[in-house]
């Protein structure tokens, strides 16, 4: 029996993985070959998806990107024993793109069968939780704090401090909420973990529940991820069947359960208080802070709200110890960052590395430059509210503070690369338009400011009083930045201002054209 891995990851499916798996099964049956097809997560080398891996004595040999039409020739080439083929990439673990990484959060993703509790345990799964049960609440919180882990949802708030705040609240009903809204363009790490290693998220939530004294956890998942919903729901059931969720987990005396909830297509529901409103069944309108969700959260109870990656990293931190994690990274950016490389790139995918790697290395070296082969013009880092960074800043190290110092952000770690055909005035307009579409409507600077922003940019595009309108636009950005209640309105100026700052010529094209 030969073991074959074909990802169930949504990106792999989008490139034909389901059809490929069916074709491989059919061809194997027709040839009388015994195969077991495991639907794994993705290794993150997304440009190679769908990537077939075959287990051989030499290791797992990869073939990708494989299409249905390649199946017969793969069998002919003896791929079941690692035979040579034009699509072969050799042993996957030895691939240079894999070898350069430092996989921590993603160490099991693409390796294991995401829906096998036994496989998860065989790869050190639930070791973190077991240790958590041994050391108890205060020591867990301490360990998370010492690791230096900062929330991966964008703001980079220290996870340990958040947990301590909730743990210190009087005993009673508390909640663990996982933010799986992942609405930022260019991000897909949360999705990949939930598809490729969902039990790590369940384990992280259980550790958190144990540390803060909560018995119930919710995962709020965006509706744009139908494949995740299926996989994660199945993972919850597997964990429950195996006694890793539910009453008296593994004899610890601790009860904890997880429920999956699906959002309804509103970007702002990624903002934590809006997310809580939505979970409660209301419109996703942002709440004023304070009170913090840690004190008054879901249904008015103390609540930890963490991003998927923050939560899924915790089991490994407990297993390996805080120091192991804290020793990685630079400055106050400790540990690793799963970079999501997207847009106009040759080698798009998920690349996990220690903080501190220069932006230019990521774009030119790891991502291989643009897919179109044209020169890079800009990289938007940190989602739709992130700044556009020009090539002249490519020596910027990837860490929270270095980016902040350049009026930029790293957000959730997504990078979208653009070639020189992009019109930055258009992208600035899109940024404002997106804010207008997605604004929750609670405060004027965001609700009205974004609409005025679109109008003003349209005037600039039409060559109408260009310099005057640019000044007006800057003014609007300033008002939005400092007058908005949450970061949707508050950060929407980042793409606009950075476009203006680094690509001023794109804002004056119409005036130049008129002058010619």
């Amino acid at each position: 029996m030969t073991k074959i891995y074909i990802p169930l990851d949504m990106a792999a499916v989008a490139m034909g993985a389901d059809r490929l798996a069916a074709a491989v099964a059919k061809e194997a049956a027709a040839r009388g070959q015994q195969v077991e097809i495991v639907r794994n997560g993705s290794r993150g080398m997304l440009w190679l998806e769908p990537l077939i891996e075959v287990e051989t004595p030499a290791g797992r040999v990869g073939y990708g990107p494989a299409k249905v039409k390649d199946v017969a020739s793969l069998f002919d080439a003896g791929f079941l024993t690692g035979g040579a083929h034009a699509l072969s990439i050799g042993v996957v673990e030895e691939h240079p793109w894999m070898k350069r990484q430092n996989r921590f959060t993603f160490v099991r993703c693409g390796v294991i069968d995401p829906l096998s509790v036994a496989d998860y345990e065989a790869h050190d799964g639930f070791k973190g939780l077991k240790r958590a049960f041994e050391i108890g609440s205060a020591a867990i919180v301490d360990e998370v704090a010492k690791s230096g882990l900062r929330g991966r949802g964008g703001a980079g708030f220290p996870t340990g401090i958040k947990w301590k705040t909730v743990a210190d609240c009087a005993p009673g009903q508390k909640y663990v909420v996982v933010n799986a809204d992942e609405g930022d363009s260019g991000t897909f790490a949360d999705r990949m973990i939930m598809e490729g290693d969902p039990l790590s998220l369940i384990e992280g939530m259980t550790i958190c529940g144990y540390a803060i004294g909560a018995s119930k956890g919710y995962v709020y998942l965006r509706s744009e991820y139908p494949v995740v919903a299926k996989v994660f729901q199945a993972a919850i059931e597997k964990a429950r069947d195996a006694g890793w969720l539910g009453q008296n987990i593994k004899g610890s005396g601790f009860d904890f359960d997880v429920e999956l909830r699906i959002g309804a297509g509103a970007y702002v529901c990624g903002e934590e208080t809006s997310l809580l409103e939505s979970l409660e069944g209301k419109r996703g309108i942002v709440r004023a802070k304070p009170p913090l969700p840690a004190h008054v959260g879901l249904f008015g109870k103390p609540t930890v709200v963490n991003n998927v990656l923050s939560m899924a990293t915790v089991p490994m931190i407990l297993e390996k110890g805080a120091k192991h994690y804290a020793d990685l990274g630079v400055g106050r950016s400790r540990g690793t960052m799963p970079l999501q490389i997207a847009g106009n790139v040759k080698f798009g995918g998920l690349f996990e590395t220690d903080f501190g790697i220069p932006l230019g290395t990521i774009v030119n070296d790891i991502a291989g430059g643009t897919r179109t082969g044209r020169p890079v013009k800009a990289v938007q880092v940190g989602g739709p509210l992130g700044a556009y960074v020009p090539v002249s800043l490519f020596d910027l190290p990837f860490d929270y503070e270095a980016f902040a110092a350049k009026d930029s952000l790293i957000g959730h770690g997504g990078l979208v690369v653009f070639d020189d055909t992009i019109d930055m005035l258009w992208m600035a307009r899109f940024g404002m338009e997106f804010c207008a579409i997605e604004s929750c409507g609670k405060c004027t600077p965001c609700r009205i400011g974004s609409t005025r922003g679109v109008e003003t940019i349209d005037k600039i595009r039409n060559g109408q009083d260009v310099e005057k309108n640019i000044e007006l636009l800057k003014d609007l950005c300033h008002t939005m930045k400092f007058g908005s209640l949450c970061a949707l309105g508050g950060f929407a100026p980042y793409p606009v201002e950075s476009a203006l700052r680094h690509f001023p010529e794109d804002f004056r094209k119409s005036a130049l054209e008129a002058a010619e």
Binding site: W47, S185, E224, A264, E280, G343, P384
Partner: protein, 158 residues
């Protein structure tokens, strides 16, 4: 959605009742109603307001806040085309506009025969394979003009 059931207050009440044990049941109910009937009829909103003991206006406010819920039937199939930044970096905006022009449609509109509704979506998490789309929940990476046209043909043929 293909095969949507005919609306009845009685069926709506059943669906609502099935979710009343949940904490904060509104979104799960709305998803279930839309899965069953293909949209969220006003009568169902009224039933929900009664069951959740809130005003109809408040319930209406919830339904209209979210992009996913719609109060009138859509086409039998739905095509969501991504227009967020990563997809734009690979020419999604022009491709989508050309497609809409070919079909004589605008965003959110349904083909005259009721077979297909076209909606914009802001990131599908398929950004390493931009431009991307989602057809009746099936993800499609590196979508091109030919694929979009095939989808219309397929939707019409069913």
């Amino acid at each position: 959605m293909a095969g949507a059931a005919q609306y009845s207050d009685e069926r709506a009440r059943e669906i609502i009742a099935a979710h009343m044990g949940l904490e904060g049941p509104a979104l799960p109910i709305l998803h279930a109603l839309q899965a069953e009937f293909g949209y969220v009829p006003d009568s169902a909103v009224k039933e929900m307001a009664t069951a959740l003991n809130i005003s109809r206006a408040e319930m209406h406010g919830v339904v209209t806040f979210y992009h996913d819920f719609h109060s009138a039937p859509h086409g039998r199939h739905t095509l969501k085309i991504c227009r967020a930044e990563s997809c734009q970096s690979m020419g999604a905006e022009k491709q989508a506009n050309d497609f809409l022009a070919r079909q004589k449609l605008e965003w959110h509109q349904t083909t005259p025969d009721g077979s297909l509704t076209v909606e914009p979506v802001y990131c599908l998490g398929l950004c390493a394979h931009s431009p991307a789309a989602l057809y009746d929940g099936e993800p499609i990476g590196q979508v091109d003009a030919a694929t979009l046209d095939e989808i219309v043909a397929e939707a019409k043929g069913e």
